[in-house]
Symmetry: C2
């Protein structure tokens, strides 16, 4: 069976009606929503075909139709008319987001808040990562006799620190040795190259100072690998409770989001033209099989980038939210470009 223009119109109407109301859509309801006049019986025939083709589903025999994952996919890829963000909204969004200008973390937190409020979904955002960030600076700050803060600053502007307790008292020499080794082995080095292998050769080369110094360099390497991971922020988690269709899975979703790793994976997932929409079972994680994820990348002067995303029910207003997300990621990219480069 092949797709016809009329079937497309009916499919689009079902999707849009279901997105609006959340109720399965019946043939009579649909009559009033189509721009051509046919009887409900005709619509029923067409809908039966669409079910057979896999675009619609029936919760039970005597209920209306609901879009399947495939149906949503077809709608988004071929049928949907994107709603442009109107002037008023775009200005107010831009103003809200811009209030976080200055500090990237604050900016993305703000952006997350705006997205969460606007979409009534959970928002995930990543801080910008530089592709080939390297170590810019390392600091060693004793805080007690045996404990020091080790601080790492990358060329991408990421700062990480950690308290670290050594096995021997810290002396002036400890500090000097730290900076000397850093200058030789860490400063200017790409973060990717700082791994266990590099660390082992380094420790070996420390000779008699290995015992004294190695804890700090281990910590430094930890910081480097932390800095490589793009930090992910989460906002508006509790919005998920507002969607009845998620009621069973909210806890599972939250549990999934709590762990950093899946989040990172989610938001990094391959995208074309900076946009990525995953519907229901298209998602890698089964906890999200009733959810949709919209991810939009932002670019900072071409060199660095991150992403903004939302997680919500499959019944998202894609036509409205996709342009929103693209607009907001544009704003974030623009502001970050201003902040970070000159």
């Amino acid at each position: 069976m092949e797709m016809t223009p009329r079937k497309e119109k009916i499919l689009a109407a079902v999707v849009e009606s279901f997105i609006r109301t959340g109720e399965p859509v019946g043939s009579k309801t649909l009559m009033g929503e189509l721009d051509f006049r046919v009887s409900s019986a005709t619509i029923r025939n067409e809908m039966a075909d669409l079910v057979e083709m896999g675009y619609l589903e029936q919760p039970h025999t005597s209920a209306g139709r609901v879009p399947s994952t495939l149906g949503y996919r077809y709608y988004i890829d071929k049928l949907m008319n994107k709603l442009e963000v109107n002037k008023n909204e775009s200005e107010s969004i831009e103003k809200s987001v811009a209030s976080g200008r200055g500090d990237p973390e604050q900016l993305l937190e703000k952006a997350g808040e705006v997205i969460a409020r606007l979409t009534n979904c959970a928002a995930i955002t990543t801080l910008p990562t530089g592709e080939q960030a390297c170590v810019r600076r390392a600091e060693f700050v004793p805080v007690s006799n045996r404990t020091a803060m080790v601080v790492l600053l990358t060329s991408a502007g990421t700062l990480k620190s950690k308290a670290c307790r050594g096995d021997m008292p810290i002396t002036q020499q400890t500090v000097e040795r730290f900076y000397a080794v850093c200058a030789a082995h860490f400063i200017g080095k790409p973060l990717e190259e700082i791994g266990t292998v590099m660390l082992q050769t380094l420790v070996a080369s420390l000779g008699e100072y290995a015992l004294e110094m190695s804890p700090y360099f281990v910590a430094l390497a930890d910081l480097a690998s932390e800095a490589l991971k793009s930090d992910v922020l989460l906002e508006g988690q509790s919005n998920l409770f507002n969607h009845r269709e998620l009621s069973g899975s909210v806890v599972d979703i939250m549990e999934l989001l709590r762990k950093g790793e899946p989040l990172t994976k989610l938001i990094a997932s391959g995208d074309k033209d900076g946009l990525n929409v995953k519907i229901g079972t298209e998602n890698e994680y089964k906890q999200l099989s009733n959810s949709s994820v919209i991810i939009s990348r932002y670019d900072v002067n071409g060199s660095r980038s991150g992403a903004l995303g939302i997680i919500g029910p499959t019944r998202l207003n894609y036509a409205k939210l996709i342009p929103y997300m693209q607009f907001i990621s544009g704003v974030v990219g623009k502001i970050l470009s201003e902040t970070l480069e000159d």
Copy 2:
């Protein structure tokens, strides 16, 4: 009507049975749980008295009794036998917590995890704060032509940083002026003294460099006030969903916990001997009127301290959990003392 030993025994039995089962406790059930033999009718009479005295409540006429806030309070203060933490548990707890040794944040995250798992509640923990922390070090790291990372390290070992965009290009002079002003006005100064007043006089004294330099000092002052707030960590929020009696209020509680301020307030609430238990309506926040909060302070060499807490239903196993919390805060205090002082 006054309390009698028999009434106390009955009250304790009701509380314990209710904590165990979550079901209202009837007179017949209670017969089997008392260490003396009386008929159910007698127990009914006593329970009626306890209701009148405000220690018990009746969900409805034909249901058993449930402890009131007052009942729990009486039980905890006068009747409860604390269960000591047994050797096996204490060792395994200590081992788990100690795995976060080294970095305070990591330690308290770990402690929070352990608590959450052990108690099936949400765990809140604060990082240790020094009473009179002062500025130990400030750093200025340009990341682009007009943006710099401003970094603040306190004597308590807290490190805060922020990207900050100035109005003029950053030059070598900018950096030198920054460090000069810091040395004169920030280093060694108690965090409390860095407020808007101090900032205004400082900016005024900058003269012709005010425009160029002030953004960075504003950022530095921001960092100082951030460093003053004790950081609060939250673990195991989703455990709250495991308690049926909280079902209605979990979202409200989570919304409350999301904001930092209430958390800080909660965990800072006045305590005697380091322990603080708030039952149901004793809590300041109405979102917690069905919940209990147990807070236990930890001390680090007397000089700094923080707290560990749990939030759960009022039906907590106080006799077990209070000693747990005290034990864990002891462990945390000990480990932190080792890490931070010498």
